[in-house]
């Protein structure tokens, strides 16, 4: 029994913790801004870079990957060393991981506000950044698995299992969803189209929630909650069961984001069934966390850290109750596309991720700086303001979601839509938007209190980068050979070996197989559906750049209320040329799938110039720059050939003719506008966007006409 002396690295937990706080402030500030923009559209100050469509992905990415992401890394780098009784595998990898991740965040912020986006939710970043994410993520994985391999403690504590699952699954998800064909350095098209793209996206989106926002935080819960309460987890057995059941079930529930869509019914039902099954492990985990405090509730009264954890874990329970409920088809029919969904998400992010992070920071920062928390009282004030903020955020959004959905679906006695004007249903819920933004501001204020409190804590303490420790390494002598050499070899290297080989296979093999495989399957099922013209394609990219899909869906569900309001419900075959799909997930404005030919070119022109000219009271921002910016024509040939590679049947050599076709169509639209007394220029962005909007959902009308 020889005791080994070593030291824990506190430098990177510290840096990640500071980054968490910094990006938390940024993410929440942007969040509050866009919450107010929903009722004061002029708050974008008339500039493209601060308009809702661009700030919304900035907010979600900053919240998820910058704030929560850095919190995960801070928590993992601190706890993993202590669980394994080993220093992190490599300081160099820690360094690459930390700075790489911050660099990615900065690149994300710059590109997103510049309108450089793939449009896929929580995966908006363009391909060079995607590659950087994959590399840095693998660095994180190697660093973590390396630490596990040189651990001195034989048993791998349950928290570390959650970290492993996070690493493996997020790697696969990110790679799977990010397979795209670059057109230029900052533009690419998803190799998947339409329904296929939607399915991959929500397989990713759902599992990003599962394996980026849930499993790592469960790992943190299993470490920090017992530590803060100074008592073991309620049932360690249950934690093991919780882990294995959760990871086996989670990955199959993605299709519940696409209920009543053009996705085949059996796939939708599969998603629902697995979502309901998730109730069990989720609540097992929540109860395990809460029951850890049995007999110690008096500690919760005095300790703000535990207060944050209690509400955090409760919020986890609430949102994992709500999730499966929203996956029931009849509930989803009401809730989908409404504010109920952001409400659900924010119970998770503000309550679960936010509060667990705050609790962890209040516990860990004093430890790292060898001092006590500057003010328990301020932390308690933060706790109450934050809790109030969550309540004031979530309840109005539940309310507004249900209100609006019921208004969308209400018919008069003679069978007409009671609220045929979409805007009427929006104006009804504007007061809720106002209350929500107050809730968000309260929550943000709480975070500022944290910043002050922890700043004071850091000032009064002294940071120790190397924390001395000693431990007895476990006996590594192999058991007597029972299964032969190969088996023993695999066992000894199990973690690192399997994980890395697995990743290599996924990347190498599937990147090559998928595109060719999919291109063949993209045969249109509706003969009248034709590829976009060059001008429409350009308009579609403007639609993506301005992130119109943040607020407008392109998916009419097969309900009487929607068919009445928008037109024929959407068919899978209509989307075969949509790289990427643009179904959206929220109807802050009306659905646009059947908007083609519904309004005149002039209506669209004036509406983009100032939506309130055409719809008084509209909360849509103005897009005057679309009328001023010159259309990008040079990129068209490259885009056409990229689309052909992806299976869109443009004839060979069409690239040479594309610009001429584009100009011809642009002139037609401009002439029409000029005839209506508008001083239109065919070279501006607006013309392309109008062309795209006028094309949307019109192809199947041609089929009816042909018949």
């Amino acid at each position: 029994m020889n005791v080994e002396k070593f030291s824990y690295d506190n430098q990177y937990p510290k840096l990640f913790a500071l980054a968490t706080i910094f990006w938390g402030v940024v993410a929440l500030l942007v969040g509050v801004t866009i919450a107010i923009q929903l009722y004061v559209p002029a708050l974008n100050l008339g500039i493209p870079y601060t308009t809702f469509g661009r700030l919304r992905p900035l907010h979600t990415n900053a919240a998820i990957f910058a704030f929560v992401g850095n919190a995960i890394f801070a928590g993992v780098y601190y706890s993993l060393q202590r669980i394994t009784k080993a220093r992190m595998f490599s300081d160099v990898l820690s360094k690459i991981h930390f700075w790489g991740w911050q660099l990615i965040i900065v690149a994300a912020a710059v590109t997103l506000v510049s309108g450089i986006t793939t449009s896929k939710e929580y995966a908006e970043l363009e391909w060079p950044i995607d590659i950087a994410i994959a590399v840095v993520w693998v660095v994180f994985g190697i660093n973590m698995i390396g630490t596990l391999m040189k651990r001195r403690e034989k048993h791998i504590y349950v928290a570390a299992w959650f970290y492993i699952a996070t690493f493996v699954t997020v790697a696969v998800l990110h790679i799977g969803n990010s397979i795209e064909l670059p057109v230029s350095f900052l533009k690419s098209y998803s190799v998947y189209a339409g329904v296929q793209d939607a399915l991959v996206q929500w397989w990713y989106g759902h599992n990003a929630v599962a394996f980026f926002l849930t499993t790592p935080f469960l790992g943190l819960m299993y470490y920090y909650l017992p530590k803060a309460a100074n008592r073991p987890v309620f049932s360690y057995k249950l934690s093991i069961l919780h882990f294995w059941t959760l990871i086996f079930i989670y990955i199959w529930a993605g299709p519940h984001h696409l209920l009543y869509s053009a996705l085949p019914n059996w796939a939708q039902s599969l998603g629902t069934v697995f979502s309901i099954m998730l109730w069990m492990p989720s609540w097992g985990g929540m109860l395990n966390g809460l029951l850890t405090l049995r007999g110690a509730w008096d500690k919760v009264r005095d300790d703000p850290v535990l207060k944050f954890f209690v509400i955090g874990v409760t919020a986890y329970g609430m949102s994992t109750f709500e999730g499966p409920m929203l996956s029931l088809k009849n509930v989803n029919a009401l809730a989908h596309f409404t504010d109920w969904v952001p409400a659900h998400v924010h119970v998770g992010t503000l309550g679960w991720n936010g509060f667990m992070t705050f609790g962890m920071l209040y516990w860990m920062i004093p430890k790292l700086w060898r001092t006590k928390l500057y003010s328990k009282k301020l932390a308690t004030v933060h706790f109450w303001i934050g809790t109030l903020g969550i309540v004031a955020w979530v309840i109005p959004m539940w309310w507004s979601g249900i209100t609006q959905a019921l208004m969308w679906k209400e018919f008069t006695e003679i069978g007409l839509l009671k609220y045929p004007n979409f805007l009427e249903t929006v104006l009804q819920i504007v007061p809720m938007y106002i209350i929500r933004s107050i809730g968000g501001t309260l929550y943000f204020t709480g975070l500022l209190i944290l910043v002050y409190n922890l700043f004071k804590t850091i000032k009064q303490g002294s940071f120790v980068p190397e924390e001395e420790a000693e431990a007895v390494p476990f006996d590594r002598t192999p058991e007597p050979v029972k299964y032969g050499m190969i088996h023993r070899y695999i066992e000894s290297k199990a973690l690192l070996f399997t994980a890395l080989v697995f990743l290599a296979i996924i990347v190498g093999g599937l990147v090559e197989i998928i595109p060719t495989y999919l291109v063949k399957s993209n045969i249109p099922t509706i003969a009248s559906v034709k590829p976009y013209t060059p001008l429409e394609l350009q308009g579609r990219d403007i639609y993506i750049r301005e992130a119109c899909n943040s607020c407008h869906s392109q998916l009419v569900r097969p309900f009487r209320s929607e068919v009445e309001r928008y037109g024929e419900y959407s068919k899978a075959g209509e989307y075969v040329y949509d790289h990427p799909f643009l179904w959206g997930s929220k109807r802050t404005g009306p659905d646009l799938h059947r908007v083609g030919k519904k309004y005149s070119n002039m209506w669209h022109y004036l509406h983009m110039q100032d939506p309130r000219q055409m719809s008084p009271g509209s909360i849509m921002p103005r897009y005057p720059w679309l009328l001023e910016w010159d259309m990008d024509k040079e990129s068209i040939p490259a885009k056409i050939s990229a689309m052909r590679t992806l299976g869109v049947p443009y004839p060979e050599g069409y690239e040479d003719q594309a610009i001429a076709d584009l100009e011809k169509q642009a002139n037609e639209i401009a002439n029409d506008l000029i005839q209506n007394g508008i001083d239109a220029d065919p070279n501006k962005d607006i013309i392309a966007l109008i062309a795209y909007l006028q094309r949307l959902g019109t192809d199947i009308k041609n089929e009816v006409a042909e018949k």
Binding site: E153, V168, L199, Y236, L495, F502, I506, L510
Partner: protein
């Protein structure tokens, strides 16, 4: 809908990887003791405390001692 086969492939490979890890965990005796690990993580400050006796102030030594007693 062929993409669903790819997704099932992705998901199954992840599931299989987890299954391998699970079997490894069970076989290598990770789960033989289903209680002590939960308590063990609570005790990682002891060495540090002993050291701090030499250099840090009386106050912190005192609080450390009471802490050790509690443990």
């Amino acid at each position: 809908m062929s993409v669903i086969l790819i997704l099932i492939g992705f998901s199954l490979s992840v599931a299989i990887l987890f299954l391998v890890l699970y079997l490894w965990a069970v076989k290598s005796g990770q789960y033989e003791d289903k209680y002590t690990p939960s308590v063990r993580i609570l005790f990682d400050d002891e060495i540090k405390e002993k050291r701090s006796d030499d250099k840090s102030s009386d106050k912190s030594t005192k609080s450390n001692k009471t802490k050790t007693k509690l443990n």
